[in-house]
Homo-oligomer: 217 residues x 2
């Protein structure tokens, strides 16, 4: 499997597998000052999608990196978890994200697939919390709402909108697209929260000066 040691240009794992190819935006090698780098993860026990976007103070997003970690070569399940943990750790070290977002899972198809997904999710979360990063969770509905504008959107629409929003011309691998979608959702959510905080700060300052004015009487 390809390890994401560097984040420049289009990089192949060397094994010619489409799912193991990582794409980086050569114009965004490091986080710009004032912008926040967000790592989105779409965990899975067969493939784990990873996507990184930068969001600036104005709420504008830029594509930084995406890949889908292919786990199918490892028959041994603990080794798959190790692979998720190590590849995510390498991606974190190479790209230094500030925040992490992951899809919240409400229900899985069956207990067996839920257990497998849970283990992959646990490994992915460990890899990022081990670096002191906090993890925000978003439901599939919130992600679709944020990226496409409707909670009932199809997977293909999400892929299409992610490509549009991040100006990605190549066809996006589905798990990588989902990872970028959750990163975008977090970018949008934190931009809204920031606008709200600015509003609250302004309101508080207004009220504050009124109260100090009253204290002068």
């Amino acid at each position: 499997m390809g390890k994401a040691k560097t984040g420049f240009g289009i990089r192949d794992s060397g094994f010619g597998k489409a799912s193991a190819v990582a794409f980086s935006n050569p114009e965004s090698p490091i986080s710009n000052p004032g912008s926040v780098r967000i790592l989105g993860i779409d965990p899975g026990s067969q493939r784990t999608g990873v996507g990184i976007v930068d969001v600036d103070a104005a709420g504008l997003t830029t594509h930084v990196f995406h890949t889908a970690v292919n786990l199918l070569d490892n028959d041994n399940f603990p080794l798959r978890l190790k692979q998720i943990f190590e590849e995510l750790r390498d991606i974190v070290l190479a790209h230094r994200p500030d925040e992490v977002a992951i899809e919240r899972v409400f229900m899985a198809r069956n207990p067996d697939s839920a257990l497998k997904l849970g283990q992959a999710r646990g490994a992915a979360i460990c890899a990022v919390v081990a670096h002191g990063l906090s993890v925000a969770e978003y439901s599939a509905k919130e992600i679709k709402q944020s990226v496409v504008g409707g909670g009932g959107a199809e997977k293909r629409q999400v892929q299409h909108m992610v490509s549009m929003l991040l100006n990605i011309e190549r066809k996006l691998q589905a798990d990588a697209a989902d990872a970028l979608a959750v990163a975008l959702t977090h970018a949008h959510a934190r931009a809204s929260a920031q606008r709200l905080r600015v509003g609250v700060a302004l309101a508080t300052r207004t009220r504050g000066s009124a109260s100090s004015w009253r204290s002068f009487r």
Copy 2:
């Protein structure tokens, strides 16, 4: 939560919670030469059981340590996974196990609990594979067969037999008992495998010398 920094005597986390109390065998602070130290884990999203036993060349087992990591104080699920990861890492660093055993889960009650269990399991496995340790998996049936002698044994019987086999006088917390049980199962399995290997080696040597004897003719 109490971190298992040291492994000597009976240690309390300082919060007076029974489930956060770790017990060490003061006579087995470090692995004896020739013996193998086995870490057993019973992962759970509310409590994760941890048990350590040493097994010597003759297949005799000694109790080293056990605890149940209480995760209920963390409402935030990613932080629970971080807690599992970090406490297990500390236990690995303090006790330096050679091998790890974990219960294989065949079916969970429902997708939601399977997902939670899976995440806890993923975090636990990551904590040990990150240290280069390999993980052996045993089914609940194999564990009961190994510890009690019957695959259909009750949980209470397992607890009782673990206490008997390891000479533990205090009442064992259920998850810690399960963790010790899977460690014992691995100890028994590797002792049997060793006897088998010795047998095979003897047989091979016999056949080998016969063949070399024949080659003299």
